[in-house]
């Protein structure tokens, strides 16, 4: 019989996968964005199941609140380009299907064949608070992960500045906006 955890897992998995499928097949961009939010939320659930509570919150905060919202905004901005009636599958979508199926099949075969994958989750030594604390300490410890932390910060800064510059309205778009 399935345990509670397993049921929760399966439901969450179903929701996530269906949401993901809808993201990639939906004709309307807004719908797709909303389905994306649902899929992201499902993944957050999984993080919780995996005792990585902090990461679940980060998932929600970064992905859903920041990225998905951004996507929705841009969808709004570019709505004139592709309408609902236009074709949304590219000409070689069948190749994509084959590729995806092959990939899935391959990965699954690979991982189910490996011995360690039937393992159960080992016990945790620390409590939830201690995990977070340890994560926090590890991120700023000079001997441990401060460098990746700082590099990630710089990367975010670069992305910030870069996206501003890339999306800066140049003279051409000034003219376009004057016309319209």
């Amino acid at each position: 019989m399935l345990t509670l955890t397993q049921i929760v897992f399966l439901i969450a998995a179903a929701i996530t996968l269906i949401a993901a499928l809808m993201v990639v097949t939906s004709k309307s961009m807004v719908h797709a964005a909303l389905w994306l939010i649902m899929a992201l939320a499902g993944v957050a659930v999984f993080f919780v199941l995996l005792n990585a509570g902090f990461l679940a919150v980060v998932q929600v905060a970064v992905y859903i609140d920041a990225i998905a919202i951004m996507i929705i905004i841009v969808v709004m901005l570019t709505r004139h380009s592709m309408g609902v009636q236009d074709r949304q599958r590219s000409k070689t979508w069948w190749a994509a299907v084959i590729a995806a199926l092959l990939l899935f099949g391959g990965l699954t075969l690979m991982f189910t064949g490996a011995p360690l994958l039937g393992a159960e989750a080992p016990a945790l030594t620390m409590g939830a608070e201690a995990l977070i604390e340890e994560l926090g300490l590890a991120l700023v410890d000079v001997d441990r992960y401060i460098v990746p932390f700082e590099v990630a910060s710089v990367l975010l800064l670069a992305a910030l500045v870069g996206s501003i510059i890339v999306a800066w309205p140049g003279r051409a778009s000034q003219e376009q906006e004057d016309e319209s």
Partner: protein, 711 residues
């Protein structure tokens, strides 16, 4: 300076003059003739010094001046060249130097130096109206080269150097006969002269080679003055059974003389050689070049007469030589009777006199032959230069009176003794010398010596032939003098003739002196009254050139009387027959001789015979066989065939190998890559998604390979 060094220097000034004129001075006429005449004066001076030393040397014959150097080394042996002045070459040097100097000086006046250049004159044609010769400097360059050749020949001590000088003179003769190359007759004459003498030269070269192969040397001192060598040559049989080696070599060398000295049958070139300017005729064809032929056989007298003893039977070679000499003497004299051109008469006369000398060598009269060689050079040169002066005078008359006649035809002359006194006097002296006028002319002494020798040794056939020739010689000489100078002028041109310039008359005077005096050095001891007053210096001197002195001929009145008789008789008859030829009259002997006259006039048709038998077949051979068949047909045909074949091979290679295979391969590769590229291009659509798909497909393949197929 040593005398030997002087001898080496003798030929040097003329060759330097030749090069200087050719390379630099040929625009300046005065400079050219100063260089040429000056160089001849220097050579003459050196020659006189050497000659003087030679004659004042006691017993010169036993120790002549000589010097030699190695020239071409061939392994252990070497070809040596050198100089030798023994009595014979000393005398030859004497007459060559004097005659050449006289002729050089004469040429200045002959070619009208000092007169303006006539603008109508073209180089290559004789000047028409008394203007200076357009190719003045060229003439002097050529005669300088010629003088070099002759002097080299005379001072040489070996047959090779002699041959070199011989050939240089052959070349100059060719160049100078055809000096006026604009005249077709001159062009034909120059080729004829060269070809005919070449025939003789080929045989001479054979003789030279044969001699060298048998004895290993070409030096006179080692052959001609060496008893053992001469004996060996005389006694060993040659390739022709009837002749000894010496005889065959002598015969081959003699054939060279036949060519060079225009003996029958190779006499045909000399009369035609009169196409050249008169100084050329004088120098080359009277005094020097033709004498070189006689010089050769006189020099090689010991070889030719090897095995013969004084008074014995003649060797086969000597028989041939004496026959040809005597025959030619008579033959040419008969032709001279019927010639009207003043120079032609002298040409045939030269052939005839050379025949005398050749015959003298043939009968073994060494001293007589040498004597006549020297005296003949002087008076024949004198006669030719005199005829040139006459022609100049008559041409002047032609120019003045516009009476266009042949200025060289004696029947257009007459009475010139009044207009050209110096020329007349000197020509008369020369003519008398040629005829052998007794006592006062040199010709008498030398001719008489030949006749005496012939008679004394019992060669009566030769004696009679030569005596007959002497009669005819006197006859035609007087004919010439009478027609030209005596009587009255037959044409207006002759009336307006005038004497020539001093540069032409001075050499005439000098030569006439020699024409008289040269004979007095050889008066035989046994001569009645006069003999013994002056010792026979000549005989003693020149005998030094032989190993054993030939004895002096005992005096015999018969040849003397015959010789005086034919000389005076011929002169008288000539004067009688020709003294009353009127203007426009024909030759008085024409009717009496009848058909013989035209045979003589046409030189026994020898030219026509040679033309049909030798010349035309040779042309046919050259034109048809060698040119058309061999050269154009075979050689060119072969070349064309090779070319065509190469072209075909090239075409084949191009069309069947190069284009399809090589180009095809290249194109195939190129086109193939292009096609491959084109077919691959479709992948690059610019759409990132599709690139990713491809990447994924490949990744999938690799993955499945790793997972499924490998482990």
């Amino acid at each position: 300076m040593q005398i030997e060094t002087l001898i080496w220097l003798i030929p040097l000034p003329p060759i330097l003059a030749f090069f200087t004129i050719v390379l630099g001075a040929n625009r300046n006429n005065r400079l050219s003739h100063i260089i040429a005449v000056g160089s001849m004066v220097v050579s003459w001076g050196l020659a006189m010094v050497v000659f003087f030393n030679a004659v004042t040397n006691e017993g010169f014959g036993h120790h002549p001046f000589h010097s030699s150097i190695e020239w071409i080394t061939t392994g252990d042996t070497a070809l040596r060249i050198g100089v030798l002045i023994d009595p014979l070459s000393a005398l030859a040097l004497f007459f060559v130097a004097w005659t050449c100097l006289a002729i050089f000086l004469y040429s200045v006046g002959y070619h009208n130096f000092g007169k303006a250049r006539d603008p109508e004159d073209r180089p290559g044609l004789p000047p028409r109206a008394g203007g200076i010769e357009p190719m003045y400097a060229r003439f002097f360059a050529f005669i300088s080269l010629f003088a070099f050749g002759m002097l080299t020949l005379v001072i040489s001590d070996n047959l090779l150097l002699l041959f070199i000088g011989w050939e240089i003179m052959g070349l100059c003769s060719y160049l100078l006969i055809g000096f006026w190359y604009g005249k077709p007759s001159a062009r034909n004459a120059m080729i004829k002269a060269f070809m005919t003498t070449r025939v003789g030269d080929v045989f001479m070269l054979l003789g030279l080679a044969y001699l060298y192969s048998v004895t290993g040397t070409l030096s006179y001192r080692e052959i001609l003055f060496n008893e053992h060598v001469l004996e060996m040559l005389a006694n060993s049989p040659s390739v022709i059974p009837a002749l000894s080696t010496a005889g065959l070599i002598g015969l081959l060398l003699f054939i060279g003389t036949i060519g060079k000295s225009a003996q029958w049958p190779l006499h045909v070139w000399l009369p035609d050689a009169m196409e050249g300017p008169t100084p050329v005729s004088a120098m080359i064809h009277a005094a020097t070049m033709v004498s070189a032929g006689v010089y050769l056989i006189v020099r090689f007298f010991p070889l030719i007469t090897a095995g013969w003893h004084e008074g014995g039977a003649l060797t086969p070679t000597m028989l041939v030589i004496s026959f040809i000499g005597a025959f030619t003497a008579l033959f040419a004299a008969t032709i001279a009777l019927a010639q009207n051109d003043i120079k032609r008469v002298l040409a045939y006369s030269t052939i005839s006199q050379l025949g005398y000398m050749v015959a003298a060598v043939g009968i073994g009269a060494f001293v007589a032959a040498a004597f006549h060689l020297i005296t003949h050079a002087f008076f024949k040169a004198l006669l030719f230069l005199g005829s040139g002066s006459v022609i100049h005078g008559v041409e002047h008359g032609v120019q003045h009176t516009n009476d266009h006649i042949d200025a060289q035809d004696m029947f257009n002359m007459g009475g010139l003794r009044k207009k050209m006194p110096i020329t007349f006097a000197t020509f008369l002296i020369g003519g008398l010398a040629l005829s052998g006028f007794p006592l006062i002319t040199a010709g008498f002494w030398s001719k008489d010596e030949i006749l005496a020798d012939a008679f004394a040794n019992g060669h009566l056939a030769v004696f009679i032939t030569l005596a007959l020739a002497a009669f005819l010689t006197a006859f035609y000489t007087m004919r010439q003098i009478t027609l030209t100078f005596l009587g009255e002028a037959r044409t207006k041109a002759a009336e307006h003739a005038h004497e020539s310039v001093w540069t032409m008359t001075l050499p005439l005077i000098v030569l006439s002196f020699f024409a008289i005096a040269a004979g007095w050095v050889g008066i035989p001891e046994g001569f009645p009254a006069i003999g013994g007053l002056i010792p026979n210096w000549f005989h003693g001197f020149i005998s030094g050139s032989l190993l054993e002195h030939p004895p002096a001929i005992a005096f015999n009145p018969v040849p003397l009387l015959v010789s005086i008789g034919v000389a005076l008789g011929g002169l008288l008859l000539g004067w009688l027959v020709y003294r009353r030829v009127p203007a426009g009259g024909e030759d008085p002997v024409k009717k009496p001789l009848g058909p013989i006259y035209s045979v003589l006039r046409n030189k026994y048709y020898f030219d026509e015979i040679y033309s049909a038998v030798i010349v035309r077949p040779a042309y046919w051979l050259a034109e048809t066989v060698v040119y058309r068949w061999m050269d154009r047909g075979i050689i060119d045909g072969f070349l064309h065939g090779v070319a065509r074949m190469t072209l075909r091979i090239g075409d084949f290679l191009r069309n069947f190998i190069d284009l399809p295979i090589v180009n095809g391969a290249g194109d195939f590769v190129g086109e193939g890559i292009k096609k491959t590229g084109k077919s691959f291009r479709v992948l690059q659509t610019g759409r990132v998604q599709e690139y990713l798909i491809i990447g994924m497909v490949f990744a999938g393949i690799v993955l499945s390979y790793i997972l499924i197929l490998r482990p």
